[in-house]
Symmetry: C2
Subunit: 371 residues, 2 copies
């Protein structure tokens, strides 16, 4: 077995999920994630945890859903009991075909999801972590060879997470204490300001100890208020199966008043017009994972890329809001990403430039970048 | 997908497990059983059952067990809760390597099994069925090409089970009402008599409706008493990894008093000397599955082969005993098989010949066979 798979498993079990002796750990093994499953099982045995292995197969799921009449029982008791008693749930994704469930009718998916809200809540209440094992199908989706894709994935996953968490904590502190922030990218015509009053940032350091549930991670995010200005999202991505290029939004007092895109404008319109909350930003995030150095059109990686920022149209995360306050609500949460790795970009917090050309002021590249 | 896989799934879900709408069904998908898993998921969706899919991977299990210090928690709560609430457990075995767990120390296996007695009991209390999906590894074990092995497996599984159950019921009735039985095979020097007083036969028709939990099945078995005589088991088999050929036993008043084997005598001795119960027969079974027409050294198939009988050294099944009575007890239950497909063989019940040359008296071949 590739040593990196063993290191991945140890990072997942040790750093991310913080599994301890006697923990009841549910692992879900994707169709293409067998090798990671073996490595994780070994780490869990070594720690003296208890394990139940689920088969996370989109093909089984597709067959089941398509054959079902759609009247799903609410939270089947045996499955709910399993999730309610689990301490951790580790999802090892590893797709053999990203489109495996493409022909499951949307209505059936929705009915199924609706019937499982209790199970989803029980899942969320565990120390859950989702990670991915690189497969050929995912390499294909990223337009990369399998060998290169694996290099890419392990560069993103096998970080010095403790050190990165400390660095991200510096930005979190700045955002927590900030009244306002501003994102500027001259070449892209971006100049957007927003308030951060009463907002709390999350240090997403790929560990349940940081309320962070994805491996890899590596971003700091918060919930912006009253965004005003213009921004171009120049990182290409696929949203709901459609390619989107250079989506451009204009906001006034927190509301999107105009939008356009070089490609995929129709899909963008559909998203913005979902509901009132979809016209507002629910998230402002800053990618800080230097292991991610290229766009792969996989949101799990792209939004963590060091030197990018992202805003999400729609739902805000409760973790960013004062206790008891509900933030922007919407049926959607769609991330859009802007590249800040350039000569004329900056992130200002309370009027001070904290990032320039994609480098923070505590990084070597900062001084060299143009102001 | 091969139509036979779909038929297999329908036989499993419909005939064997009798799954109904709203049932909580746990399926365990072996490493090589993905396709059968997909077909079974489809059938379960069609019936409106609820499904949780486990990953039945010997490689994950091996990695976990080898890394563990051996002090296993007794019946981990989350797993016990799952099995206690399941209506059915369908195990879809499909080995990619029959020796995948060969290097797990025996002591660790025993500790693990001992710690899971409650889970095993909960499993046994469900409508559980175990079946196999043919793989290349299993074809190799049987010494057959993959195509031929699949033909063989589906011939064994895709029977007219209703009709076979009716036929087997005829033999069950004869055995239930019998005082004595006798097995004779002149060429092999076999002449063994035994009592069936107070014994009840099981019609193992591959369905929970018949207290039968394997697909394929196709045998009628009971618990013999006071066997006396000699018998040669001429169906070659592998027991505990060692080849056994022509094991020959002599019994007096139910106890093995002498034994020998052309090959594997040492292993046979080890079995016979396990404990007092291992010197007695716990089971007499009659294979009645005409889809199984060759020996593959896989006990699930071999002991069901029409025209064979088998006796097991060791433990008897409670289902064959009067309520409250405990039959032969032992730490072992080792099946040995004798071929009755020959000119000079017969099975007598209360002095009447009911099978001759491998054919029952209600079958066409019976009259043609020599008496």
């Amino acid at each position: 077995m590739d040593d990196r798979i063993r290191e991945h498993a140890e990072t997942l079990v040790g750093w991310s999920a913080r599994v301890e002796e006697g923990d009841d750990v549910l692992i879900s093994v994707g169709e293409g994630a067998h090798e990671l499953g073996v490595a994780v099982a070994e780490r869990l045995g070594d720690r003296g945890a208890n394990v139940v292995s689920l088969y996370g197969s989109p093909e089984l799921s597709r067959a089941y859903l398509r054959a079902h009449d759609g009247e799903f029982e609410t939270d089947p008791e045996f499955e709910l009991a399993l999730y309610e008693r689990a301490d951790s749930v580790l999802s090892l994704r590893g797709s053999r075909n990203a489109s495996a469930r493409a022909d499951v009718p949307g209505e059936i998916r929705r009915e199924y999801a609706t019937a499982r809200e209790g199970i989803r809540e029980a899942h969320t209440n565990t120390d859950w972590v989702s990670t991915i094992h690189p497969t050929r199908a995912m390499a294909q989706q990223a337009g990369m060879s399998y060998a290169a894709y694996r290099e890419f994935v392990y560069d993103a996953i096998l970080r010095d997470w403790k050190q990165l968490a400390e660095e991200m904590d510096r930005l979190k502190t700045l955002l927590d204490e900030a009244s306002t922030a501003r994102v500027v990218a001259g070449g892209a015509g971006t100049d957007l300001s927003f308030s951060l009053e009463d907002r709390r940032a999350v240090n997403s350091a790929a560990s349940v100890a940081y309320d962070s549930h994805n491996l890899p991670s590596g971003e700091v995010f918060t919930a912006p208020r009253d965004a005003t200005g213009e921004i171009t999202f120049d990182v290409p991505m696929t949203i709901r199966g459609a390619r989107v290029r250079n989506a451009r939004l204009e906001l006034v007092d927190g509301v999107v008043v105009d939008w356009a895109a070089e490609l995929g404008e129709e899909g963008l319109t559909e998203i913005v017009e979902t509901d009132d909350g979809a016209r507002r930003f629910g998230e402002f995030g800053v990618g800080m994972n230097r292991g991610i150095d290229r766009v792969t059109d996989q949101i799990l990686f792209d939004e963590k890329m060091a030197g990018t920022v992202h805003f999400a149209l729609g739902r805000a995360y409760d973790a960013c809001l004062p206790e008891g306050e509900s933030g922007n609500d919407s049926a959607v949460h769609v991330d859009l990403i802007a590249d800040m790795r350039g000569g004329d970009t900056k992130l200002e917090i309370d009027g001070e430039t904290v990032q320039r050309g994609g480098y923070f002021r505590w990084e070597d590249g900062f001084e060299g970048a143009e102001d």
